[in-house]
Amino acid sequence: MNDTPIVSIQNLSVALPKGGDRPYAIENVSMTIARGEILCVVGESGSGKSVAASTLMGLLPRGLKIASGEACVAGENVATMTPERLRALRGREVAMIFQEPLSALNPLMRIGAQIVELFEAHKAYPGEAGRRRILELFHYVGLPDPERLIDSYPFQLSGGQRQRVVIAMALALEPKLILADEPTTALDVTTQAQVLDLLRKIRREHGTSILFVTHDFGVVADLADRVVVMEKGRLIEEGSVDQVLTAPREPYTKKLIAAVPRLKPAHLPPPGEEIVLSLQHVTKTYGGSSGWFGKARTVKAVDNVNFTVRRGETLGIIGESGSGKSTTGRIIVRLVEPDQGEILFHGQDMMQLPRETFRAKRKALQMIFQDPLSSLNPRKRIRTILTDGPLAHGMDRATAEARAADLMRYVGLGEAALDRFPHEFSGGQRQRIGIARALMLDPEVIVADEPVSALDVSVQAQVLDLLNELQRRMNLALVFITHDLRVAAQLCHRVAVMHRGQIVEYGETAAIFADPQHPYTRQLLAAIPGRHLDEISA
């Protein structure tokens, strides 16, 4: 073929609408992608990492405009293309894989028909040839039973299968370039590993260039040939994957790589002896009522779960989506009522208490939520958010406010934060407020449900440090729910691995990471992206 790079972006600046916090989404950015190369663009939220990909597709969000520079695909500037040319380019020469495969597919159309639309738009594979091509593609991306899937609707597929359909669609016309914007972020680790394998295979067998946008250095380590690091709209470092990961030049890159939690379990101070919380034979089944037609579909969300947490101990509950880990957490604080089983707090079964009596006990059992924005009432000042709980338990206002001020300082936000509203804070700060709220009642047990999964990695590291410190200082029993084994390794004394509602492995973190017994645990550990990264840093 020829030597012109498939992508050549020269001094590209994209302007943000006036009145934003900065004038440009990306500023003076240059990058090239050679044919058959995988380039990863890494950055935290707000770094402008997705903007370059949108520009190449001619799909800049409303309000964003190219201010200067050019973005060329195969030597042709996207900015000066006519809409007709741009339409011809999309799908045929450049294809895109989106983050959320469910919203990228039309929910009311059979999957096969959605790909046929693409063929019709580009006048390719007419009639029967189209169906044959789709079956071939489904087979290639490893979808089970293509003959059946072709006539299914998106909701009938799992998340991983949907993403494979989106990839098959991207591949359909053999584009020279695939733009992938965080395509594995919404997927479980094991599925993510399979999708990354598939992308490598596509590059190997078809010579397709891939621009892969991600926030995850683990994924970068596994996939990239070259890496571009973005910060606040600027390209700050560029180089081969080995060079950037082993010898980063910029302090920001160093900080990002250092913030990725290591897989080697951390040394934690030993927990106390006293058992604070104990779950025995806890079971929760969803579904059940059958309605008028058809029989009931039931799902055992939590199936005979047993574990104990001691004072000063962190127990990690690890699992993928649908494993029942969140339901288990919610059962502990009784947001979900279990069907069977006992929840013993200092030996007393909480399930036996009537709701009103239990309400007084709630002080001791607190929770930190996943989404720091939706877990704070948008209409209340932080002061009210923090003091509502203690006031409900009979603390007087002066004491509650003094404690709120103390805790704000303790989580690193300062007293001035008390008079502000939740939307005035960043994600990491909001999560600190969520932590402070849980601490206001001086609890003995805290359930933290994926408290850092919505945060950027550098912020994630700070919040984890805070949790770690606070747990030690207050001698808390912490139940830490996560899908991220790296985070679990850094924080948890023991872990319980959940799969389809059951605990399949339970024990000391170090022992399980070193020698997993259950095949599912092994599969999980093998799927962690960027094991390579740990070898480099070790």
């Binding site: 947001l335 939520f369 939706s374 704070l376 509502d388 709980g389 409900a392 009642l441």
Partner: protein, 279 residues
């Protein structure tokens, strides 16, 4: 608060609506100063044209009553009925909707069946029946209008509460041990208010129309002059003196239009994201 007014002020129609509404309220408040004589009093020759005689800017009706005075006093009745009946309807609707949405189960089923029962009967027909049963008076008109107009509020509040109670900040309040009534009143309802306020503003307009229709049919309060009564009384003279019906008709039109303009601007200001999407 500042940004709310900035967003509201961006809507020119909303400002016009608010301006008209303001003047209408002023007229209602000062009706007895502007027109010290009762609007029922026969003051001049019957069927004067506007400006035919000084002191009667809009002329007189078939009994020689001042039309301008009638309109000014009618403003009081219309605004009173519109605002008070809407207030009752909104309170009832919020109560029913919040309980149905938050508690769910059989409570939801029972309350929603009642709501649907009220919704299946045509509003005006039921209002007529209710006023006829209670005997026509201002309180019975307000009550009747409130009773026929609460179901949409209840459904709206229920839907809002259903989605809000799944939010994490509500779960956080449960975990903190706040009592149920506090969670409902303090956490959920304030967040459900913006769409209710918008609906309420438009309900005021509907209530004014319903009151006018009732008065037109002779089911108004005989102690108070109202726009609907004026139209009803002038109906027989429609061909001889059309202006007698045109003026109160215009008053209803302008008031309802102003309220709708203001309500729409309120909607845009309270839900800024919806507006951006529409552009």
């Amino acid at each position: 608060m500042k940004s709310f007014w900035q967003r509201y002020a961006r809507n020119v129609g909303g400002l016009i609506g608010l301006g008209i509404l303001g003047s209408i309220v002023v007229i209602a408040l000062f009706a007895s100063i502007l027109f010290p004589v009762s609007p029922w009093q026969m003051q001049g020759a019957p069927l004067l044209y506007p400006f035919e005689e000084p002191g009667f800017p809009l002329g007189t009706d078939m009994l020689g009553r001042d039309i301008a005075a009638g309109l000014a006093y009618g403003t009081r009745v219309s605004l009173f009925v519109g605002v008070v009946s809407t207030a009752f309807a909104v309170l009832l609707g919020i109560g029913v909707g919040a309980c149905a949405g938050y508690f769910g189960g059989w409570i939801d089923d029972a309350l929603m069946r009642v709501t649907e029962f009220f919704q299946t009967i045509p509003q005006l027909a039921m209002a007529i029946v209710l006023v006829a049963i209670f005997t026509p008076s201002l309180p019975s008109i307000v009550l009747a209008i409130a009773l026929v107009s609460w179901p949409p509020v209840a459904r709206l509040v229920r839907a809002e509460v259903l989605s809000l109670r799944e939010r994490e900040f509500v779960e956080a309040a449960i975990v903190l041990g706040r009592p149920t009534h506090k969670i409902l009143l303090d956490e959920i309802l304030p967040n459900a208010m913006p769409p209710v306020i918008v609906t309420a503003s438009l309900m005021v307009a509907t209530a004014i129309l319903t009151e006018a229709a009732l008065s037109f049919l002779g089911l108004g309060d005989k102690n108070f002059m109202s726009w609907g009564f004026m139209i009803g009384a002038a109906r027989t003279m429609l061909r001889e003196a059309p202006l007698l019906t045109v003026f109160p008709g215009m008053a209803i039109l302008i008031t309802v239009l102003a309220i709708n303009l203001a309500g729409e601007a309120l909607n845009d200001a309270l839900n800024p994201r919806l507006r951006e999407r529409g552009q």
